[in-house]
Symmetry: C2
Subunit: 472 residues, 2 copies
């Protein structure tokens, strides 16, 4: 599939037999060059055709990652860190070949510091595995992208999810990292203290760097006490604009809602089918409130008033924990539910995020764009952050559908940038958003990013060909 | 004064007459080489002797800053951005001479976006000026270091203050920056969207970089709705440890307190004298609760229970706004109040921050250190963050007192680092903490910081001699 977004041509680098030999000496049967394994590691959830790494190595420790990086560096061979494979923008494609470091066996909790509300984990642990491990502590980790992504991958893409409106994103919640740098050094960034002014913020430089500056091998994140009370509700609106305006007022009033998710009519249909629910097929908001018993009641009352003033219907409550789980599982499955609307399809997913004051306008104009297109394109959104996704469902065998999806994507991104927003709120740049980096940041800011890449990875070994063009 | 902390020798660089001439052509009487002006700009609140810049230029716009930076870069002359001069660690000293860019005339609000809860300002505006400008919007900017620092300086040092436990630090609250880089480019980092995954986090790279990577000329920060209800209270404890243990439990319970400040007996005495208060001279906590009327009552009740279980006395309430202002003004004046305990003194201020579980132990061992010293050394702390300050009051004419202060400082920092903490929670590194950077981060992480500096400022023109040694 020929993808229309501007990006450097894929050019494979040599993969020396000597390197493969050395990897096998060190990692024995944890090195694979099998076609199926390489295909699995050379793709993600994006509609890009796979680009295969030359080999996959399953690492089990920071030391092992260091060994792989040093060996690859000696042989000028690219390195792509691989977590759960759930990225959406082509992050994992080995566009220049090289070694995919599979971190899924590094999925342990290193230490839970319940008293400090922190946990240190290996990168391959998934968000659900982490919360399972925390079950008996009374604490939880709130960041929840749709997929059961790895914490390493979530750090690398600066991920967020449905709870970000209350608890922030990976940017706010990663306290420190262990990173293997391109030249094979192991550094620790940050401390377990809640704040620090001691030098450059390397933690936040690596968070969101998409594997282009180093391999993250350990992550310390903040945890939160399980709220004393939780309640969730859904409500339908006559239009998308009304729903979004209710959200804007809620945010502007400073109500500390934990979650507020928008789901459009088509997405509700997909979710109903996939998760066996009977939600009304109308623009909907999903709310969740965290706090003390009385605090949650108070928040809900305030929000109900705002909803009513914006033509929303009465709340339907999901008060029992199992009903809440069902609701949020359905929301988290939305991406896969939407894919099932069109058998055999793939999705181009937009991910713009705009200042909240512009969100209603942005969503309404996007709706008009979509009405003018033949692609089924449901909308869901973390609207409390000003972030929403359109999943444009296309037949990968039909290039014109991909072109149509990209045409709409460009319109949506262009609009968001004009409104002071960003081309990606939480999915990252990968391959797919590279063409928008200069539009968003300007030539000079991208040049600064490039000079940081040059300083830390002059040979362009770390996940090359991602975020911005860079020759090394 | 000969300062014992490890740092590179001060070595002035040439200041060409041609540069002065060009600056005068461009800025006329806004260039000064007067001794008094240079002395004012070559010092801060630290006990370091002033190190004078060769000239001071008062800039009025980003374009003007760009002109100054370009001229200085052409002549290999250092540049030190100057806000309100309230830094505590020697940040502003012109250790290699050069031009101090005074940004105090760039003190305007560029735009208030009340609907988005953001404001864009010039760097010279102070936090009090900003909140004054926001008065009629129902919004406020919470970050409040002791001094009425400039927002530019607060960004450059990653400052926080008494509200950070609830609202975060400059790290969490700066959304975007305009920066003039060392080679005279103007870049914009970030957007007004609440989150983004679009490339390297340049915003957070410049936040906390202490002027060593560029000059910040515009800042967009998050604002918060004024809480519906606020209440404040103080309470005394039999010991410092008891007070801190009450705080630890409060944090671990997840009570969303807005402020919790520790003040020791000696600091209470200083505050009473300076601000005409009659607080009991005992270890005290100052609390503030923000929320709805009922939320604030509920928080206060929970915290009162925790306080009682830790031998704290009943709350004394400051319910009227004027009483609250008086209390917090007194707390904010603590630094100056403490200086008055010893006429003619200067203060070496420690600024460690540790994981909250270690805070009681850290504070109690610090107390023992101080009992073994002859320097009067009051303690205050943003204990909800695990951050506290000892102000060691010394006679600048007596080198042995400085040595004694540094001896204690090294013990305190060493202990904090062993506990997984940081040498500076909010003041920054400046000159004074440079010797701890490798202890805290390790050689390799500091080497990564240095390579970023090398990439962005190869000639070492931007506030040289700060944070870490770097030759350029």
């Amino acid at each position: 599939m020929n993808h229309p977004t501007e990006r450097p041509a894929f050019q494979k680098r040599p993969f020396p037999a000597a390197l493969l030999e050395l990897l096998k000496q060190n990692f024995a049967d944890r090195v694979s060059t099998a076609q199926a394994v390489r295909e699995h590691h050379g793709r993600d959830e994006s509609p890009f055709d796979p680009q295969l790494p030359d080999a996959v190595v399953y690492a089990r420790s920071t030391d092992e990652v260091q060994t792989i990086v040093k060996l690859c560096a000696e042989h000028d061979v690219p390195i792509i860190p691989y977590g759960n494979g759930s990225s959406l923008e082509g992050h994992l494609l080995a566009v220049q070949g090289g070694v995919s470091i599979d971190l899924s066996e590094m999925n342990q909790v290193v230490s839970i510091n319940a008293e400090d509300l922190t946990v240190t984990v290996q990168p391959g642990i998934s968000r659900k595995q982490l919360n399972e491990a925390l079950k008996d502590t009374g604490l939880f980790f709130p960041i929840d992208p749709g997929a059961d992504a790895s914490i390493g991958g979530m750090s690398a893409t600066r991920a967020s999810g449905t709870n970000a409106v209350r608890y922030g994103t990976m940017r706010e919640n990663v306290l420190g990292l262990t990173v293997v740098t391109a030249d094979g050094r192991v550094i620790k960034t940050g401390t377990r203290a809640r704040k620090s002014s001691a030098g450059y913020d390397l933690t936040r430089l690596f968070v969101g760097s998409e594997g282009t500056l180093g391999v993250i091998t350990e992550i310390t994140v903040r945890l939160y006490p399980q709220p004393e009370a939780i309640s969730a509700a859904v409500c339908a609106f006559p239009s998308m604009g009304d729903a979004v305006r209710a959200v804007i007022e809620t945010i502007q009033m400073g109500v500390p809602i934990a979650r507020v998710e928008f789901v459009d009519k088509l997405a509700v249909r997909a979710i109903n089918r996939h998760s066996n629910l009977t939600l009304r097929e109308a623009p909907m908001l999903f709310f969740e409130f965290h706090g003390t018993e009385s605090g949650v009641l108070e928040q809900a009352q305030t929000v109900q008033d705002i909803v009513a003033a914006n033509k929303g219907e009465d709340f339907e409550w999901a008060t029992r924990p199992e009903d809440r789980s069902r609701l949020w599982n359905a929301r988290h499955s939305a991406y896969f539910a939407m894919l099932q609307l069109k058998p055999g399809c793939r999705a181009v997913t937009t991910d713009v995020c705009v200042p909240i004051s512009r969100l209603a306008e942005c969503v309404e104009e996007t709706e008009k764009d979509l009405q003018g297109s033949y692609l089924p394109s449901p909308i869901v959104g973390h609207v409390g952050d000003g972030n929403f996704h359109v999943a444009m469902l296309l037949d990968p065998a039909r290039p014109e559908e991909l072109e149509e999806a990209e045409r709409i994507n460009r319109r949506i991104v262009g609009r968001a940038l004009k409104m002071g927003g960003t081309c990606t709120g939480e999915h990252g740049v990968g391959l797919h958003k590279m063409g928008f980096m200069i539009d968003e940041h300007g030539e000079d800011a991208v040049a600064v990013m490039r000079s940081i890449k040059q300083a830390l990875d002059p040979k362009n070994l770390m996940n090359p060909g991602k975020i911005f063009s860079f020759e090394g």
